[in-house]
């Protein structure tokens, strides 16, 4: 398997979009991509993309396929805020928040509402998750929290609740 550079890769579909199973060998009835130790350079790029964005190729929307029943949907803004609340609860890595905060703002959420998510889940997730999430959400809002930490180090008693 040697996907051409720039070809979209969808982790959920297990193979690069555009490639066909015929390009892979079949071993014991299973499709094999060959020697796993010879990792294509695109894997490194893909890992970086998955680690630094929100899963990169993973479509945050439901798969676009016809349903025989209608799937309940929230309006775009509520959906983005609800997802943000779930993210806080999963204690995801800081960079992941950026995209979801951007999604919420693009859907019309105000900064007040984005911060309101932290308040809404505070009692449910507890202080540790809340503090961890705050840095990610602040950066997602474009707030330079590192500078704020430096400014406040002199006159703020950290740890007091």
């Amino acid at each position: 398997m040697n996907p051409s550079a720039g070809r979209a890769f969808h982790p959920l579909r297990t193979m690069p979009i555009g490639s066909s199973a015929s390009s892979m060998s079949k071993v014991n009835g299973r499709v094999s991509s060959g020697d796993l130790s010879r990792r294509p350079a695109t894997c490194d790029a893909e890992l970086l993309r998955l680690a630094t964005t929100d899963g990169g190729g993973i479509d945050p929307e439901l798969p676009d396929r016809p349903h025989v029943w209608s799937v309940p949907q929230l309006d775009a803004k509520t959906r983005a805020l609800v997802r943000l609340g779930a993210l806080v609860a999963t204690r995801t890595r800081t960079p992941t928040y950026a995209r979801h905060v951007a999604d919420a703002r693009a859907a019309g959420a105000t900064d007040d509402e984005v911060l309101g998510v932290l308040g809404a889940v505070a009692s449910v997730v507890g202080l540790a998750h809340l503090v961890a999430a705050t840095v990610g959400v602040a950066r997602g809002l474009g707030y330079d929290i590192d500078a704020a930490f430096e400014r406040s180090s002199d006159d703020c008693v950290l740890g007091s609740v």
Binding site: L74, T78, V124
Partner: protein
């Protein structure tokens, strides 16, 4: 059974049932809705339910979240919509686990084999 002090037993019972006032006094965090939360009460309740689903909370906690969402004016469509919306973030296992608890809280009989 080992004898457990009545007070301890009562506290455990209240926590297991997700008793709001007990949780509030222990966490020292407001569980009920403050006026200046930044979100309207309905959205706030839905966001909190998303947090409960993501944490794979107990049936009692999810039941509490669903009841609060109904009280804040959320519809069945919106409550199930929370489950659908957080799917890509929390994964299938948590969505599946929460589906049972949500159904129970919504007084909805899934009529599954082996399910009492």
């Amino acid at each position: 059974l080992r004898f457990v002090d009545e007070r301890h037993e009562e506290l455990l019972r209240r926590l297991a049932l997700n008793d709001e006032s007990t949780v509030e006094s222990l966490l020292r965090l407001p569980v009920s809705d403050p006026a200046d939360s930044g979100l309207d009460p309905r959205t706030r309740a839905l966001v909190r339910l998303a947090g409960l689903v993501a944490l794979q909370s107990s049936d009692a906690s999810i039941g509490w979240g669903v009841t609060a969402a109904y009280a804040a004016g959320a519809t069945d469509e919106e409550i199930v919509g929370v489950l659908v919306s957080v799917g890509p973030v929390v994964g299938l296992a948590r969505v599946n686990a929460a589906a049972f608890a949500l159904a129970a809280a919504m007084d909805c009989d899934l009529d599954l084999p082996g399910d009492a």
